[in-house]
Structures are given as structure tokens and as C-alpha cells.
């Protein structure tokens, strides 16, 4: 998978979507501030960030439902910034579905084809095909109100797919579904992406969706892109503090970096990469802290009090306190047997698992 992505990134030819210096203000609020990035053909690209970060505004600008104050948008190398919404050809899956309540499933799905003056017979075959594909065979005459949430979601997807678009925009598509349906739909979207080669731009605030599905993702905060990369890169080697904090769980330890070592309250640690020096923040993911016996063989070790143990199921989260600093460690449940609140133990972190960040 990782190799595939590298190959695609290296591809030449026009990008599927390019956003250049896009800014948008709503009154006094800068919803987007000089945002630029490119999405490759066939990519599953995520826009992720806390609510109010501008990700939905950006998606609506792609769909032509919002006009940027400045900047341009290219689809396949063509400037589409001046095209109205109905000429963009980038169907969107709306967060609240936006299924027309006065039209049945078939007419909802056929809507875009009718606007494109596709012949009646072709409309009906294409609609039947796509309904079959999303598992809604025989539901064509139902009204949206008679469908479950998951079925409505499939209709919205079908409504976009039936147009054979090169791009589909998804706005928090899974946020109205329960946990089980989410997993199911996530797999179906993944399958769609593999089967169709459609470029997806997917907006969510849910990192689970993003980490599970994304080829690449842009982490946004306050109208700006904070980081772009593959989920693995951004999780393991986040370029900044916000990104490290937003994705997954994190321990932050302040320190002073110098020539491959960093001085912290927990001792002087060796680190894998040392591009920074001076005042830094060390990121340590909880799963990278482990209990050690003896000298810890090459690890950065420290002694800490166990202040709490919480079982998650397959893993256990152990709360630690050392030198006034609270830390979290995630251990496999099997390995945590015998750890009790109040214990004082030795813990270790491998040097390559200490990531130095600007404070």
C-alpha cells in the first residue's frame, strides 16, 4: 500500500484537484486563510480538523456552493473558480443527506442524469445498476422517509455515483450512523475507491475514519492547513504540536535538545532524529512506553509511580506520575498483569520513539 502511494505521488500529469491560495472570510472570521494543496487522481484525500477549522467551507468551495474571496480552484488543470455549482460536476454527499423528500429513491438517484438530458431508457438502466451496486435493489419506489439511516446514506452515495464522476465530495458522511453501520459503510467506501478510481475528498472531524481510509490527509486548524501527509507519517512523525495532539493520544514532555540528546525532568534521553536544538517538546505515544526490567538495554529509562490502571479490553492504559509530570502508557492487557495502582516501577522509551517538536 505504502509503495503504491509513493508511485502515485510521483505520477506526472494534471492533478485531480488543486487549490491555490484560497481565502474566505465570514464577517470578522477568517474561515480559510491562504490554503493551498493538490489532490492526485484516484486519491482518497481527507480534510480533518476540529469543528470551525474551515474544512467544510473548503469542501463547499470545491462544490461551488461557496465563492472564495481570493485564490483559485483547478479540476484536472482547469480553472473552475468561476463555474457555478451546477456546472462543477463534483457531486457531494451531504452530511444530512439532503434527499429530496418529495421524490422517491429512483427519482432522487436519477436527478443529476435528468439534468444532463440523458435518455429515459439510459436513466432507468443506470439507476437500476447503481441501486444494485449499493445494495438497494427493489427499493426504487420508496420515499426517503421510509428508509433507515444506513439506507438513506446509500441513496446519497448512489445519487453521486450514477453520474460516473471523476470526483466525489463527502461531508461527514458517516456522522449520523451508529457505530456498527459506520464500520460497514467505511468498508464500502474503501471498496468503492478501489473499484472505481474516483477521486474522493472526504471531510471529517473523526480521526478514526481518516486514519482508516485516507491515502493522504490535510490536518486543518483555524483556517489553515497545519500538516499534509499519509496517516502513518502524520501519526508517527507529526510535523507540529497541534497535529501530534489532534491525532491519537500523546504525552508531551518539555526538554532542552542538544546533539542527539534531550534533557528532560525525567532524565537525559537519547533521540533517533535530532534536527532541532534548544527548547523542544518531546512527543511520546502512550503505546511506546513499556515496562522494563534491569537496565533497559539501550532504552531511555525512568522510574515512575503508577497512579491508575484502566482496562480498555485488549489494552490497558496505565497512568504514571514522575517529577510532577503525568504520563499515559498503553500496554497489551497480557503484559500488564500484576501492575497495581501505587506500584513504583521502571519504564522505558526507545530513542527512535521520541519525536522532537517545536514548542
Amino acid at each position: 500500500m505504502v509503495e503504491n502511494r509513493t508511485k502515485r505521488d510521483a505520477q506526472s500529469g494534471p492533478t485531480a484537484i488543486e487549490i491555490r491560495n484560497v481565502s474566505k472570510r465570514f464577517g470578522a472570521v477568517a474561515a480559510l486563510d491562504e490554503v493551498s494543496f493538490a489532490v492526485q487522481p484516484g486519491e482518497m484525500f481527507f480534510l480533518i480538523g476540529p469543528s470551525g477549522c474551515g474544512k467544510t467551507t473548503l469542501l463547499r468551495i470545491l462544490a461551488g456552493l461557496e465563492t472564495p474571496d481570493s485564490g483559485t480552484v483547478f479540476f484536472n488543470g482547469r480553472d473552475v473558480a468561476s463555474l457555478p455549482a451546477h456546472e462543477r460536476g463534483a457531486p457531494m454527499v451531504f452530511q444530512n443527506y439532503a434527499l429530496w423528500p418529495h421524490l422517491n429513491v429512483r427519482d432522487n438517484v436519477a436527478f443529476g442524469l435528468v439534468e444532463r438530458h440523458v435518455s429515459k431508457s439510459e436513466v432507468s438502466t443506470r439507476v437500476e445498476d447503481v441501486l444494485k451496486r449499493v445494495g438497494l435493489e427493489g427499493m426504487g419506489t420508496r420515499l426517503p422517509g421510509q428508509l433507515s439511516g444506513g439506507q438513506q446514506q446509500r441513496v446519497v452515495l448512489a445519487r453521486a455515483l450514477v453520474l460516473n464522476p471523476s470526483v466525489i465530495l463527502l461531508d461527514e458522511p458517516l456522522s449520523n450512523l451508529d457505530a456498527k453501520l459506520r464500520v460497514e459503510m467505511r468498508q464500502e467506501i474503501e471498496k468503492l475507491r478501489r473499484d472505481t478510481g474516483i477521486t474522493f475528498v472526504y471531510v471529517t472531524h473523526d480521526q478514526t475514519d481518516a486514519l482508516a481510509l485516507a491515502d493522504r490527509m490535510a490536518v486543518m486548524v483555524a483556517g489553515k492547513v497545519s500538516a499534509i501527509g499519509t496517516p502513518l507519517d502524520l501519526y508517527a512523525r507529526p510535523p507540529n504540536l497541534f497535529c501530534a495532539d489532534f491525532l491519537g493520544e500523546a504525552n508531551f514532555i518539555e526538554g532542552l535538545a542538544n546533539e542527539g540528546t534531550v534533557q528532560t525532568k525525567l532524565g537525559t534521553w537519547r533521540v533517533g532524529e535530532y534536527s532541532l536544538s534548544g527548547s523542544v517538546v518531546c512527543l511520546v505515544r502512550p503505546e511506546n512506553i513499556q515496562g522494563v526490567e534491569g537496565d533497559g538495554s539501550g532504552m531511555n529509562v525512568f522510574e515512575a509511580d503508577v497512579t491508575g490502571v484502566r482496562i480498555n479490553g485488549a489494552t490497558v492504559t496505565v497512568s504514571l506520575a514522575v517529577a510532577g509530570q503525568a504520563l499515559k502508557a498503553t500496554l497489551l492487557t497480557q503484559r500488564s498483569l500484576g501492575i497495581r495502582s501505587g506500584d513504583r516501577r521502571m519504564w522505558g522509551i526507545a530513542p527512535e520513539n521520541v519525536v522532537l517538536l517545536h514548542p
Binding site: 462544490a63 451546477h86 439532503a98 445519487r159
Partner: protein
């Protein structure tokens, strides 16, 4: 147990009142048109369709109502779309002003219209002065329906406008965006998504307008058009005991109204069941109009308003002039008629009568309206949907039907008592006013109760207040603004109620304002001027009332005139 007993008493009182004063008269009308002393017969109903005069009356009324409805759609649809989708400076003020034409009774404006369009009226004179026509033209004589349709359109379009704005505003913006996103141009979005989704509101408004104009009595009466159904019904009141064809006509009107109302209810409930599909995705951002766009909207709305107010304006002019005959503008200004409108025996009695009838009606409405809303919203009693539907029924039942029904059942059943309108119509007039405006009061109280969380009441009960004390100390104070607004509306409309007043008030000492105006119009010697002055007094009262209600209810005032 005690509380439940109290509730049962209230339910019984309300149901009994509605039963006697709303259901019984309609049932009476219905039965009298199918049963005579010899038993069941279809003769009278068949007579409607065979008798040439009846047929002509029904046909003319149908033409009027259809044209008025169509014209109202033409006037309201573009304005409603602008008000629901675009923003421009002064929008709130304009939408308040658009209510104005509805509250000014077409009965009074018909007088003004007559002055403008009559043979010796302002328009004829203006055209003669300009040399465009040779002699006076009798516009109303040549095009009798034109004046009625124009007047009723200008009077009724706000009902449709309010219903449309509400349904357009309730459409989730993402439904339109999704259509755009899938390739529909703005015009196509309107055609394929916006209009179908607004259809229930549009149809509901159209139904109200249709029923209203189909049964409007005052306007054709003032224009002297006798061969329309409402006037034919009015004329048949005189022989109500002997000739059942009046009953058959009223039944016909009732059936037409019921069908329209039933269809629009069905459409509305369908809309409601799908509206819960997703939550409103986002607040709609109205697109601001450019300076030129705003100017065009001002011209459009201002023009419609001016046209709507012009007849009233001429009534005002007429009330302050000695002479308005073969001149464009009236001559000889005077305030004499305002004084005479307050000083003559007829008019002073009428003002006092209208004030007292309206006051009684308002008190009755407050009791009934609050009681019904409280039972439906708070107690959720068994059958509360039916009770609510019953209270809303007067929206669909024309005043003509109720008044005719009262005349029929009470004068026959209780002859020579206080319930015989021929003897003394005070009680029946007050009650008919109250029944006619009950939906507004129920709706106002309903809105108030739904905004006030029931936890306030629960807290009061928890601290030891009896159910009655809870209502008195907590509920009523919290919704007083709504009740007051509803009361003001009931009062104002009662002051200018036309069909009930014309039919039920039979002797001069019981005439309300509207009947006095009608009688004055027929009289010689400045009757027209005095009638106008009386109309101006009434309009001033009405305007002040509506302004007060608007100040109390704010934006929610519009909700009171919606169909669903």
C-alpha cells in the same frame, strides 16, 4: 383524582360550546338541505344545478374565487421568494406592511373602489380630462367582476404570501444545494426542488384564499352584484323558514370548503412527516441584493402596497370631502362627517354595539382558546388532536355558513328568546365573532405554551401550588404576551366582521359597524360620506390594534395566519 375531575369539567364545557355553536349549526344546515317534512330528498340540492339563477350565481362565484386565487399566486409567489431567499434593507418593515392589506376590510375598500371606477368617478374623469375617452365610462358596469377580483386579490394576497414565505423558509438549504451540485441551474432548482417542496404551503394558502373569496359577501354586495352565491344566500335569509334552497346553497359552499381544506391538510401532514428526515443542516444565509436589486424590490412591493391601499385612501378622502363627482380629486375639505359619524343615532349605536360584541367575543375566545391549547399541549388529553382540529375548523367554515346556520337553528329552536337572532342577536353575534376567530387565539396560546418549558409548572406544583394556582401564577403570566396579541387580533377582526353582522343583525338598534356602513351606503344625503367616515374610524381602531399585536408578537404574528 380532583385534578382529573377539574379537567373533565373543562373538556365538557369546551366541547359543549363548540358542539352547540359550531357543529350543530353546520349539521342543521346539512340536514335541512336533504330532509324536509316529507323525508329525505335531493330536490333542493338538485335545484342548485338546474335552476338557471342558482347555476349562474354558483358559476360567477366560482369564476371570482378562481381568478382571485390565481391572481394572488401571481402577486405572492415572486414576493415570497424574494423575502425568503434574499436580504435587503428594511425587509422586516416591508413584511410588516404587507400584512396591512389583509386587515383592511375589502367591504370598506369596495366603497373607495366604487368612487375610483364608477361612471362619474376619478378614473373616468381623469381619462376625460386627458382626452382619452369622450364621455364617462362605467368601468364597474362593463366589467363587474374585474373590480371584485382586483379588490379581493389585493385584500387576500398576504395570506398566500405568509404561507409561502413560511414554507420556503422551512426548506432545508442543502436540498437546493444538492440539486445545484448535481447539475441543476437556478431555474431548474426552483422548478424541480423548491416549488414541489413549497407546494403544501402554496396549496394551503390557495385553499384559504379560494374559500375566502368564494364566500365573500361584502364586496359583491357593495358593488351591487346580486347573482353570486354569497349574495344569493344572504337574500335567502329572509325566507329561511319557508324555502330550503338557501340551506342547499350553504351546504354546497360547506362541501367545497371542506374538500379544499381536507386536501391541504393532507398535503401539510405529508410535508411534516418528511420534514423530520434530517435535521436542518445549517442556517440559511440569505443572499444580499445589490442596490439596484433592492430598489426593484421596493418598487414591486411598494407598488402592490400602494394599489392595495388606494381604495382605502379614497375612502379617507371621501370622508373629508363635500363633493367627489366628476372630478379627479375630491373638492371641499371638511371634518364634518367624522363628527356626524359619531353623533347620529344609527352610527353611535353601531359603534357601541360593535365594541361590546367584540369585547364579549374576545373574552370568550380567551377562555376557549387558552383552555383548548392548554388541554392539547399540557394535558395531552385523549382526543386532543380532534379537539385541536375542531378548534381550527372555523378557518375552513366561512362566516356566511355559521351565520346562516345560527339563523336557521336558533330562531327556529328558541323562538322569542335571547337566542333568537330576530329578537336579540347580541349573544349570537358575540359568539359567532368568537367562533370565527377562535383558531387565531388557539394558535397564539399554543405557540406560547410550546415556548414555555413545562418544568416551570412542574416546579410550581412541586412547591405546593394546586393545578389552578399553577395556571394562574405561572402559566398565564408566562404566556400573557401571546394571549394579549391573540385577544387584540380577535377584537380587531370582530370589529369589522362582515357576513355574520349583515345576516344576524336584523333590527337597527342591534346593528354593528359593518351593517351600519352598509345601510348608510344605501341612504341618500351624504350617506356615502358618513359611511366612509365611519369606515375610517373603524380602520383606525383596527390599525392600532394590529400594530399593538405586532409589537407584542413580533415575527410570530405571521404564524397566526398560516393554514397548518
Amino acid at each position: 383524582m380532583k385534578a382529573r375531575f377539574g379537567t373533565s369539567v373543562i373538556v365538557a364545557l369546551i366541547v359543549a360550546t363548540l358542539g352547540v355553536f359550531l357543529v350543530w349549526p353546520m349539521a342543521h344546515v346539512f340536514s335541512r338541505s336533504f330532509w324536509d317534512p316529507q323525508g329525505f330528498t335531493l330536490v333542493y340540492v338538485a335545484g342548485l344545478f338546474t335552476h338557471a339563477v342558482h347555476l349562474e350565481s354558483a358559476f360567477t362565484s366560482f369564476i371570482i374565487a378562481t381568478s382571485v386565487t390565481a391572481c394572488c399566486v401571481l402577486v405572492s409567489l415572486p414576493m415570497a421568494w424574494l423575502f425568503a431567499r434574499r436580504s435587503f434593507p428594511g425587509k422586516a418593515v416591508w413584511s410588516g406592511l404587507l400584512l396591512l392589506p389583509m386587515i383592511l376590510p375589502p367591504f370598506v375598500s369596495a366603497v373607495g373602489m366604487k368612487i375610483i371606477f364608477s361612471r362619474a368617478g376619478a378614473l373616468s374623469t381623469l381619462l376625460m380630462n386627458l382626452g382619452l375617452v369622450d364621455g364617462p365610462v362605467d368601468w364597474l358596469g362593463h366589467f363587474p367582476l374585474f373590480g371584485i377580483v382586483l379588490l379581493e386579490t389585493l385584500h387576500l394576497f398576504p395570506i398566500l404570501f405568509l404561507n409561502l414565505v413560511a414554507s420556503l423558509a422551512n426548506i432545508d438549504p442543502s436540498l437546493e444545494e444538492a440539486a445545484m451540485n448535481l447539475g441543476a441551474s437556478p431555474a431548474r432548482v426552483f422548478r424541480r426542488v423548491t416549488l414541489p417542496l413549497a407546494m403544501p404551503g402554496l396549496f394551503a394558502g390557495m385553499t384559504l384564499v379560494f374559500i375566502w373569496s368564494f364566500t365573500e359577501l361584502g364586496t359583491p354586495l357593495v358593488f351591487g352584484l346580486r347573482r353570486v352565491l354569497p349574495v344569493a344566500i344572504y337574500d335567502s335569509v329572509a325566507e329561511i323558514g319557508t324555502n330550503p334552497s338557501g340551506y342547499a346553497m350553504v351546504t354546497f359552499v360547506l362541501v367545497i370548503s371542506a374538500i379544499g381544506f381536507w386536501i391541504s391538510k393532507r398535503l401539510l401532514s405529508r410535508q411534516r412527516s418528511v420534514a423530520t428526515l434530517g435535521r436542518l443542516s445549517q442556517a440559511r444565509r440569505e443572499i444580499p441584493l445589490s442596490f439596484r436589486g433592492s430598489l426593484l424590490v421596493y418598487l414591486l412591493v411598494g407598488g402592490v402596497l400602494f394599489a392595495a391601499i388606494l381604495p382605502q385612501l379614497s375612502v379617507v378622502l371621501l370622508s373629508v370631502s363635500h363633493r367627489w363627482f366628476l372630478t379627479v380629486l375630491p373638492q371641499g375639505f371638511t371634518v364634518e362627517f367624522f363628527g356626524r359619524a359619531l353623533n347620529s343615532e344609527l352610527t353611535r349605536t353601531a359603534l357601541v354595539n360593535s365594541l361590546s360584541f367584540s369585547l364579549c367575543a374576545t373574552v370568550l375566545d380567551l377562555l376557549l382558546g387558552f383552555g383548548i391549547a392548554w388541554l392539547c399541549v399540557r394535558k395531552r388529553i385523549w382526543g386532543s388532536d380532534w379537539l385541536d382540529a375542531l378548534a381550527m375548523l372555523p378557518l375552513a367554515v366561512p362566516g356566511l355558513v355559521i351565520a346562516f346556520g345560527y339563523m336557521g337553528c336558533f330562531s327556529g329552536t328558541f323562538p322569542n328568546t335571547l337566542l333568537d337572532p330576530r329578537m336579540n342577536p347580541m349573544i349570537l353575534l358575540s359568539v359567532s365573532y368568537a367562533i370565527r376567530r377562535l383558531p387565531y387565539m388557539v394558535r397564539a396560546a399554543h405557540a406560547g405554551l410550546e415556548q414555555v418549558s413545562s418544568t416551570y409548572e412542574e416546579a410550581a406544583a412541586n412547591l405546593g401550588a394546586t393545578p389552578f394556582r399553577v395556571v394562574w401564577r405561572v402559566t398565564l403570566p408566562l404566556i400573557s404576551a401571546n394571549l394579549l396579541a391573540g385577544a387584540i387580533l380577535c377584537f380587531s377582526f370582530s370589529m369589522l366582521e362582515v357576513s355574520d353582522s349583515l345576516i344576524l343583525a336584523q333590527s337597527e338598534n342591534f346593528y354593528p359597524i359593518t351593517k351600519a356602513i352598509y345601510v348608510l351606503l344605501e341612504s341618500l344625503e351624504n350617506g356615502l360620506n358618513v359611511a366612509s367616515a365611519l369606515g375610517v374610524w373603524a380602520m383606525a381602531l383596527l390599525g392600532a390594534g394590529i400594530l399593538l399585536a405586532a409589537a407584542l408578537m413580533g415575527k410570530r404574528l405571521g404564524q397566526m395566519f398560516r393554514a397548518g
